[in-house]
């Protein structure tokens, strides 16, 4: 469910960086203001990371992995939980190259915000009824919704030519099935902790105000609409655009460097080839200089 | 009037879930004394260390460091009391050993270059300069202990509280740690359940009983008192 680089176009990637920055930034602000024990967020993040590595056997001989967004929300509260999941995802990206760097915003949005906040609210709504059920639904719906968002993002992206009508059902149905494991595990963990250390689940620090609640819900619900709108703007190739503005692409570089060696009206294919060859030579030259400089 | 390095008067600590941690402990340490707290597993040694160092606020009673109440002057206590945890993994939370050694100077606003110099100096002193770039989880148990000692002594605390410093280390590291404790320039309190190490550094022994309070305070001769030790569950 980690989206790699190259699947999302820059509109969608940028948009989700922005949305994630807003919610994550607000969470950090709340955690700092309310002096929540954020050490625990870092430690829990590493524990969730470890728990994600377990391979749970599922029928059919394959295995499923636990994601843990809803659990983070339930154990730490939504704000610290969101920070913890962001830590997990950033470390996965920068230490294990799991999930792309341009897609990091979207990945945190799906697994660190949608999964955490939705899971947390479902759990809060049901905790008085039945602990296991509350945990199960939080885990199951949280992860399925996160996957549906991932499907929306790659489906709307102009780079990935499968339409939303294919990506959303594929991601949604598949993760709704895998999500059962997530739900059962989350439910059992919550159930276990509620019988042995109920104080951990009750002492929930941060009160989420109603206005914030609604604002976040609206933000989450509307994010696919934003993504759709961002696509309409059609500004997905910043470098290409810069190049056009500078007029570089109209006057290929090789023409500038080697005006005498080119015959006017030369086959553009040959032109590209020459340009490519010159690039190769220059890169190799710079590389040689670097080798010398470093070897010094 | 004598000013004690550390003085606890009728200190009790009850955990939030109502478990008693320590019950009515009174203790006084003279400046430069080396004291061993001995007791069975679960007799409250670790809790006592946490209370004496001011990490846990006593439910009742007073802890004084050089005559200053521990909960009144936070910074004074932190600068004068160094604590070595039983598990180095709890203590070392930075990404690399170098960052670990830079943590304390950063807290004191010491400029970067000087902090780097301090870190190297203490690394040399404790023989850990070869692991400076490694993350703490890659170190051996003995190396971790030495990094902890380097971090703690960087502040040059006048009082050192150690919780099972020789647990899980090999013979050689154990000898080094005991020598370190013996030669440390200040007051040292060591909690342990290993009786054989006590004579190697301590001149005073505090025996704790299973009721989580102090049974008896005395010299090394208490180690010979089998009846006392047996009633406290130590042997």
């Amino acid at each position: 469910m980690h989206i790699p680089d190259g699947y999302l176009d820059m509109n969608i990637a940028g948009l989700f960086y922005l949305l994630t920055a807003i919610v994550l930034g607000y969470s950090i602000y709340r955690v700092r203001r309310e002096k929540v024990n954020w050490t625990l967020a870092g430690i829990t993040a590493s524990a969730i990371f470890a728990a994600q590595m377990l391979n749970w056997p599922i029928p059919g001989g394959t295995s499923a992995h636990f994601v843990g967004g809803a659990l983070a929300g339930i154990l730490l509260g939504p704000y610290a939980g969101c920070i913890a999941m962001a830590c997990v995802l950033i470390v996965q990206c920068l230490v294990f190259a799991d999930g792309g760097i341009t897609a990091l915003g979207a990945n945190i949005w799906n697994m660190g915000i949608v999964d955490v906040f939705v899971g947390y609210y479902i759990y809060k709504a049901l905790e008085r009824r039945n602990m296991f059920l509350a945990g199960f639904l939080a885990g199951w719906i949280g992860i399925t919704l996160g996957a549906i968002f991932a499907g929306l993002e790659i489906g709307l992206s102009s780079y990935f030519h499968y339409s939303v009508a294919i990506t959303v059902p594929t991601m949604g149905i598949w993760h709704a099935l895998l999500g059962i494991v997530e739900g059962v595990i989350t439910g059992s963990i919550v159930n276990y902790i509620s019988t042995t250390r109920p104080d951990l689940l009750e002492a929930k620090e941060v009160r989420v105000g109603k206005a914030v609640w609604i604002a976040l819900a609206v933000l989450i619900a509307l994010s696919p609409v934003f993504a759709y709108l961002a696509e309409l703007v059609n500004y997905s190739e910043p470098l290409e655009n810069v190049a056009k503005h500078l007029g570089v692409s109209e006057h290929p570089l090789w023409e500038g460097i080697l005006p005498d060696y080119t015959i006017p009206g030369v086959n553009p294919y040959v032109g590209t080839l020459i340009s490519g060859a010159i690039g190769v030579i220059v890169v190799l030259a710079i590389a040689t200089v670097i080798t010398r400089a470093v070897a010094r | 009037m004598v000013v004690f390095a550390l003085k606890a008067e009728n200190v009790s600590y009850v955990y939030p879930d109502k478990t008693v941690g320590v019950r009515n402990v009174s203790l006084s340490l003279k400046v430069g004394e080396r004291v061993a707290i001995i007791g069975a597993n679960g007799c409250g040694k670790s809790t006592l260390i946490n209370v004496l160092s001011g990490i846990l606020k006593p439910t009742s009673g007073v802890v004084k460091i050089f005559g200053v109440k521990a909960d009144e002057n936070f910074e004074f206590v932190r600068r004068n009391v160094g604590v070595v945890f039983q598990n180095p993994d709890d203590f070392l939370f930075n990404p690399t050993v170098r960052d670990e050694l830079l943590y304390t100077p950063a807290q004191l606003d010491i400029p970067y270059e000087e902090a780097l110099r301090m870190a190297e100096e203490f690394a040399r002193l404790f023989g850990i300069e070869h692991v400076l770039e490694k993350p703490p989880f890659r170190l051996s148990g003995g190396e971790k202990k030495r990094v902890v000692l380097a971090c703690v002594t960087m502040l040059k605390p006048k009082i050192l509280l150690m919780d099972e410093p020789t647990a899980n280390v090999d013979g050689r590291t154990r000898r080094r740690i005991l020598e370190f404790v013996r030669d440390y320039d200040g007051t040292v309190l060591v909690a342990t359940h290993e009786l054989d190490i006590v004579p190697k550094f301590a001149e005073k022994v505090v025996v704790m009983n299973m009721e989580k309070s102090v049974e008896k305070v005395g010299g090394l001769e208490l180690l010979e008192d089998e009846k006392l030790l047996e009633s406290c569950g130590i042997i």
Partner: protein, 243 residues
């Protein structure tokens, strides 16, 4: 379950230690901030085009960079092939609609971006990244939590594995899937309780050692390596534009 988990984990933890085991080279000596910005620019350049020439230009340059940085080619291939193949198979059906060139370009873009990301990972120790993030004004709480996450992953995993092995050693009957999940959930529950206590201990240690969140910022280095790296990136961009 245990065997599979250990296999996943060892593959994962190889990344953890990879920095130590590789000989140092060019990219390792470039200031992390400069490196991060340059590499991200290259990643963006590689994914925002479907022009095969442009993609190949960046792929070629990144392979040159990896050579300069003493990153072994075999190692790099072993880290990127699986995902590249996966991507290829996913977009393959589109060959009928969009043509094979689209499929090839899409896959190569993803491959190039992964190679570049792997180069960051392989040449930068994590604490350097943390320093860089601080210089980029990312909030301290997040940076410090990241440090804790990185620091404790290994410990948490060995703890979890110990619990799992203990469970396995006491298991007698063969369990059904649902039982495994439920039983596993209980074990994870006790694991998270231990985690909570560990968190409290670390919190204590932190308050002992001073709990102001404070970082040194490393002096910014812009020497010959950084200049050469910038030159290389700028050149690749110009080349990219001209193709």
């Amino acid at each position: 379950m245990i065997e599979k988990t250990i296999k996943t984990a060892t593959e994962y933890f190889q990344n953890f230690f990879s920095y130590d085991y590789h000989p140092k080279g060019f990219l390792q000596s470039v200031d992390t901030r400069v490196k991060l910005v340059g590499m991200i620019v290259l990643i963006v350049a590689s994914v925002t085009t479907f022009n095969l020439g442009k993609i190949l230009a960046i792929l070629f340059s990144s392979l040159i960079i990896s050579k300069l940085s003493n990153v072994s080619f075999r190692d790099l291939v072993s880290r990127v092939w699986l995902f590249t193949l996966f991507t290829f198979l996913i977009v393959l059906p589109l060959a009928f609609v969009e043509g094979f060139e689209y499929v090839l370009a899409f896959t190569l873009r993803v491959l190039t971006a992964i190679v570049l990301l792997q180069l960051i990972v392989l040449t930068t120790p994590f604490n350097e990244l943390l320093y860089a993030m601080r210089s980029f004004k990312i909030p301290e709480i997040l940076v410090f939590s990241l440090g804790l996450t990185y620091r404790y992953i290994h410990l948490m995993f060995s703890e979890l594995l110990r619990i799992l092995i203990a469970m396995e050693s006491r298991r007698i009957k063969k369990m059904r899937y649902r039982e495994i999940w439920k039983e596993g959930g209980k074990i994870l529950g006790s694991f998270f309780l231990r985690v909570y206590e560990k968190g409290e201990n670390v919190q204590r240690a932190m308050s002992l050692r001073g709990d102001r969140i404070k970082f040194y910022s490393k002096p910014f280095k812009f020497g010959i390596e950084e200049a050469l790296f910038t030159l290389l990136v700028v050149f690749v961009l110009v080349w990219w534009c001209s193709l």
